[in-house]
């Protein structure tokens, strides 16, 4: 199954993915380039602050079996078999909020549907329309640090394994600990201290 894979070490919290997501879902024309306003679609991915100034882009992981699909009393939530993606049939949604309660990632929100005129469940659609045109999901395309990649998990992990082994052997040889540049490691260490001394979340 193809998925949007997150490399948390590389997320810099720039929120380009959020902006790109909102733009990709502009109506009636996606990516129309019109300025985003209060009535524009909201982003379906959100970058949140963790401890020590680290950030993580939260979005629907399209679980299988998906808790939201399992609890939806009306069948408004369903799985698209071709793209292995959890989707919403808005006219069936009764806005009960059960899906949001069971979602492990806080990925389910509610927004006014253009189709029904009422607030219904609202979440990532894996950019199916873009995928059909052989484009990457908008969030992945927007990510310039490699924090978001799109592909088959096994293939991504295969690549990741190479780096893990490289890092491991680098350490054995007394070299730099990871493939992350030294200056960025120093930066992260400083932010870790700063978080301990200030009001934002800290690991200490």
């Amino acid at each position: 199954m193809k998925t949007v894979f997150v490399d948390v070490e590389r997320c810099v919290g720039c929120r380009h993915c959020e902006l790109a997501c909102a733009r990709a879902h502009q109506e009636p024309v996606p990516d129309s380039g019109q300025p985003l306003g209060p009535d524009s679609p909201r982003s379906r991915i959100s970058v949140e602050l963790g401890v020590d100034f680290l950030t993580f882009p939260l979005k629907c992981r399209h679980c299988n079996p998906a808790p939201c699909v399992q609890v939806c009393p009306t069948g408004a939530l369903y799985r698209d078999p071709e793209f292995d993606t959890v989707l919403i049939q808005e006219d069936l949604c009764i806005s009960c909020g059960m899906c949001a309660m069971v979602c492990p990632f806080g990925a389910m929100t509610f927004a006014v549907s253009k189709k029904t005129g009422k607030k219904t469940a609202y979440k990532c659609d894996n950019c199916i329309d873009r995928q059909k045109k052989d484009q990457l999901p908008a969030c992945v395309e927007a990510c310039k640090t490699g924090a978001l990649t799109f592909g088959y998990v096994n293939e991504i992990i295969k690549e990741a394994k190479k780096n893990i082994v490289l890092d491991l052997t680098r350490t054995i040889q007394g070299g730099q600990k990871t493939s992350i540049p030294e200056n960025m490691l120093e930066f992260q260490a400083i932010r870790e201290t700063l978080a301990r001394l200030g009001p934002l979340p800290s690991s200490k």
Partner: protein, 632 residues
């Protein structure tokens, strides 16, 4: 929006935000009543963009904006072809430029006021410190024989204004530096040529496609910083002294408790003393005093804020309500009739805060207007009229204060301030020799110039106070300016009694002289006083500043001015530790140059360390190495 927290949670949030006891009850009020503060806005801004934080975001031209992957992936060049090194260096120079411009433009305004005073067209001003006028006139080789005070002041003002231009090609006050330090600047090619020239050239250099050598850009940054420290800022200090008097040691009070429930409270906030000095005069006007009593107040109470506050504290002993992060809290006491603002470090949302109460914000500078403020524009020629008008407005506004909403916390803390170089010399008996002997003898290991701002990313005042305590404990004398000094004042470190917190050796020196272990040297332009003190020490020992057991520290810095200050400290040979990471970590080369490479260029470099104990370790190690170098 009003948020109700349980008392424990509220206490925890307040505790995480500040160590300032006087701020805590008011901060709790802002949270409970939904009065927005910088801490709330910091939270709302999370997460903040990592491209910006590491300096690799470039938004200079319309081929961009561009950003570089700081992890070394693609994209590694902007559309123009600039890589991380160049983008980071240009962004840093941009910040430094802005800071140097802010200090120096402030300086120019003081000089222009002196010019108008000398020409007789300024209202309410006079040349107060003739001794300093004569000293500076001699430095500028201005003939004084048979000349009046005003004639000399005019010539000094014109001599300084000339140094903002491009013809003269050197700045007189750089000659105050020891010859060995000047030699370094000349060899490196960073001797500043004029104040405005370096700033303008800096702006030129960050234009798209002007050079691609990051080191060359950063070297110009050092030159621009020197034009600020030994130029614009030093002129601001010296001319303010000439106009309003060189600070002498005095006692005053600090924290939000300086506001008075039964008086008309006027806060003077910003950086430039030229108008606020007149407000101090105007507040003594008998008719206005009577008007205040007629309105039911006991009188008029002035309180400073940030560096306008420091300027008035140093020269007039006006109490000070707090530093940068206290500005919204001062308003949230509900007890302020008028906050007068000039410029720099004034939250653009300050009128929104004021709107929660009867408080009026009075903007006074044509350069610094704020929507929602009453604009009463200051010019030297109508300075006294403007000042009287401001005080009257405050008195009239007293009737609109809701006394039921007034929350003035606790009691103010006593402090000692006014440590100009002249005042320090005075305390030492007219010569630096006792200080030099104490350093040589090891009673004082060395000295640290601690400067800079507040930053809500670090617990308010903690960085300053914790590092100061740690340094004096290790027998290292601390001199401070700006928000750092105000933080120490609130924490009781600016009192002779604080010597008890110092190491035994420093304690005995402080007790013998009756001085605190942390000395308040003034506003942020008065960091120039620290340079002068360092220069005098170096000259007495016939060494360069870089050979002295000195360091700089900016534990809570946030502003562009701090970039300039830290850079002129380093360029002058003073190792400087920053408590907040500068926006350079996207470039390994820039980091390496600033943290190490500069040692071979100017004999000093930067370090970044938010932890006060570790920062003190770095500083002590540096100081001990310098002592060894001097053979003491």
């Amino acid at each position: 929006m009003t948020i109700h927290y349980d008392p424990e949670t509220l206490k925890k949030i307040v505790q995480e935000r500040t160590i300032d006891e006087s701020a805590k009850p008011v901060l709790a009020r802002t949270i409970q009543e939904g009065i927005e503060t910088a801490w709330d806005r910091l939270e709302a801004q999370q997460p903040q963009c990592g491209f910006g934080q590491t300096g690799v975001c470039c938004n200079r031209c319309t081929m961009g904006p561009c950003r570089i992957d700081p992890y070394g992936g693609s994209p590694n060049r902007g559309v123009c072809g600039a890589g991380a090194d160049l983008i980071v260096a240009r962004n840093l120079l941009d910040d430094l430029n802005t800071g140097a411009a802010a200090h120096s433009d402030h300086g120019r305004e003081v000089i222009e006021t002196m010019l108008e005073t000398a020409e007789g067209s300024a209202q309410g001003y006079e040349i107060l410190d003739t001794k300093k006028l004569m000293t500076v006139a001699a430095e500028y080789a201005i003939p004084t024989n048979g000349k009046t005070k005003n004639e000399i002041a005019k010539a000094v003002a014109l001599g300084m204004l000339e140094e903002f231009g491009t013809i003269k090609n050197f700045i007189q006050f750089t000659r105050r530096a020891p010859e060995k330090t000047q030699a370094i600047w000349n060899t490196t090619g960073i001797m500043p040529r004029s104040v405005d020239r370096e700033i303008v050239e800096g702006m030129h250099r960050i234009h798209m496609g002007v050079g691609a050598d990051y080191a060359n850009i950063l070297l110009h940054g050092l030159r621009t910083a020197l034009a600020d420290g030994w130029g614009g800022s030093m002129m601001a200090t010296e001319v303010s002294d000439i106009m309003f008097g060189t600070p002498e040691i005095k006692e005053s009070w600090v924290n939000l408790g300086v506001l008075k429930k039964d008086m008309v409270n006027i806060i003077l906030h910003g950086h430039n003393p030229v108008l606020s000095e007149m407000v101090v005069e105007a507040s003594r006007n008998p008719e206005l005093q009577q008007l205040a009593r007629d309105k039911g107040a006991q009188g008029i109470n002035l309180a400073g804020m940030c560096c306008t506050g420091n300027e008035l504290l140093m020269r007039k002993g006006v109490p000070i309500a707090g530093n940068m992060l206290n500005q919204e809290l001062a308003l949230a006491t509900g007890a302020v009739e008028v906050m007068v603002i000039d410029y720099q470090c004034i939250f653009p949302s300050i009128t929104r805060t004021a709107a929660c109460f009867h408080t009026k914000i009075v903007s006074t500078s044509e350069k610094s207007k704020v929507p929602g403020a009453v604009h009463m524009e200051f010019h030297p020629k109508n300075a006294m009229e403007t000042a009287l008008g401001i005080v009257k407005l405050a008195i009239e506004n007293f009737s609109y204060r809701d006394q039921n909403r007034v929350l003035i916390p606790g009691k103010p803390v006593k402090m000692m301030a006014g440590f100009s170089v002249e005042a320090i010399l005075g305390a030492l008996g007219g010569t630096l020799k006792p200080l030099i002997d104490a350093i040589a003898g090891g009673q004082i290991k060395g000295a640290v110039g601690m400067v800079g701002c507040n930053n809500p990313k670090i617990q308010h005042d903690f960085g300053h106070v914790a590092l100061s305590k740690e340094l004096i404990k290790r027998d290292i004398l601390v001199v401070q300016t700006g928000c750092a000094a105000i933080a120490s004042g609130k924490a009781g470190l600016l009192l002779p009694e604080a010597a008890e917190l110092a190491g035994d050796a420093l304690k005995s020196v402080c007790q013998a002289l009756g001085i605190p272990p942390v000395l308040h040297m003034g506003s942020c332009v008065d960091c120039s006083r620290i340079l002068v003190l360092a220069a005098e020490l170096a000259k007495a020992l016939d060494v360069g500043i870089d050979q002295l057991p000195l360091a700089g520290a900016a534990p809570e810095w946030m502003s562009q001015k701090a970039v300039s200050i830290a850079s002129y400290f380093v360029a002058s040979g003073v190792f400087t530790v920053l408590g907040i990471p500068p926006k350079i970590f996207g470039s390994a080369n820039v980091v390496n140059l600033m943290a190490a490479g500069l040692n071979d260029v100017v004999g000093a470099a930067f370090a970044v360390e938010p932890d006060p104990i570790k920062a003190a370790d770095l500083i002590e190690k540096h100081i001990l190495a310098k002592r060894k170098g001097l053979g003491i």
